[in-house]
Symmetry: C2
Subunit: 206 residues, 2 copies
């Protein structure tokens, strides 16, 4: 499982450096204790450059959120699979691995912290609506492919995709907002059971 | 479907009045723009009383969260059902009704706003761990009852409960953080399909 590492190496350009500094500060301090001052502490250049680009904490954090969600998109497994069933299993493994590395929970925690702004702030909500749409469409395509390939039953692809995405989102969000790792194993078993029971055409015993 | 209305009428005692004022202020302003000043604006007594009881915004909001989660518990449908299947359907309808009233989305939005603090603040995380545990146990009991009553298959009750709770949480959280009502209908259909396919023993045609 590929852990999201939003910043592979020290970026050179100012925009990427501001994003990296904001991410580090958010990871360390959470949303409520985050200040431009603290972002500045993580930034290798003059803090005044941050103020030149962004009007305040939330404008900067919405830009960070957009940046992080783009990283999420780039890391979604898209090819190299024998069929849609293998693709779907890889996607579930990617979103909900048997155990999370700390970089991964840090990343999910940072996104979950920004998600708390979404109920009362359009700019954040718009970003979350966009990523949720992206994931749902991607999952729908995989299920549709599986039906075309004859490995999945003729379900309603959008309905099953909405269900799977929601369960994956719920599991990831709960993991970082309850700190409880324990239900993950049971959840994964039931998700794979659901896929097997609802989607997969059993060619061996069917 | 019973909408959560945390404050049925104007409360008399200071603690309940502080809770109500905090809830109103959170609903209106969200987390980041919330100040003790703004909570004071909703409070019928002297603002200094708030400072006497709470050291700051987060201490007050954790108390509000605990209060709101107690309300959630009190509203969970617990009896008056013919069997566990009817009980489970009522619970799903309660958590994820076909359409949400605005009081309900306001409530979910307020809780989701506080959830954003959980990844970086133990006190919030502890509250969310507690409520998630409560819901999972309640759901497990219903599924176990259903197995005992002979209406549900002999599944692993904890595993199915974890899955259902996670899907419901994911749906509610996505609803208020994306603003998108649209996937709810598809989700509900698939949740009920899952219950039927995975849990219910079909006595008419089986």
């Amino acid at each position: 499982m590929e852990t999201p590492t939003p910043f592979q190496s020290s970026p050179e350009n100012t925009h990427s450096q501001i994003m990296q500094a904001s991410y580090e500060a958010l990871r360390k301090h959470g949303y409520s204790n985050l200040t431009i001052q603290r972002i500045g502490d993580e930034f290798p250049k003059s803090k005044s450059l941050i103020y030149q680009h962004y009007d305040g904490k939330d404008e900067l954090l919405v830009a960070l959120l957009e940046f992080l969600l783009e990283q999420l998109k780039d890391h979604v497994p898209t090819d190299g699979f024998d069929d849609a069933h293998e693709h779907l299993q890889a996607l579930i493994d990617h979103a909900l691995p048997a155990s999370f590395e700390s970089e991964h929970t840090d990343f999910m925690g940072a996104v979950a912290a920004l998600r708390g702004q979404a109920p009362h702030d359009d700019a954040y909500r718009e970003q979350f609506a966009k990523i949720s749409e992206f994931h749902r469409e991607h999952m729908t395509d995989i299920i549709r492919d599986g039906i075309d390939q004859g490995v999945f039953r003729a379900v309603d692809p959008e309905q099953s995709a909405a269900f799977l995405m929601t369960a994956l989102h719920g599991a990831r969000n709960q993991r970082v907002t309850t700190g409880n790792d324990e239900p993950i194993a049971a959840l994964r078993r039931e998700l794979f059971e659901y896929v097997q029971m609802r989607l997969v055409i059993d060619t061996e015993n069917g």
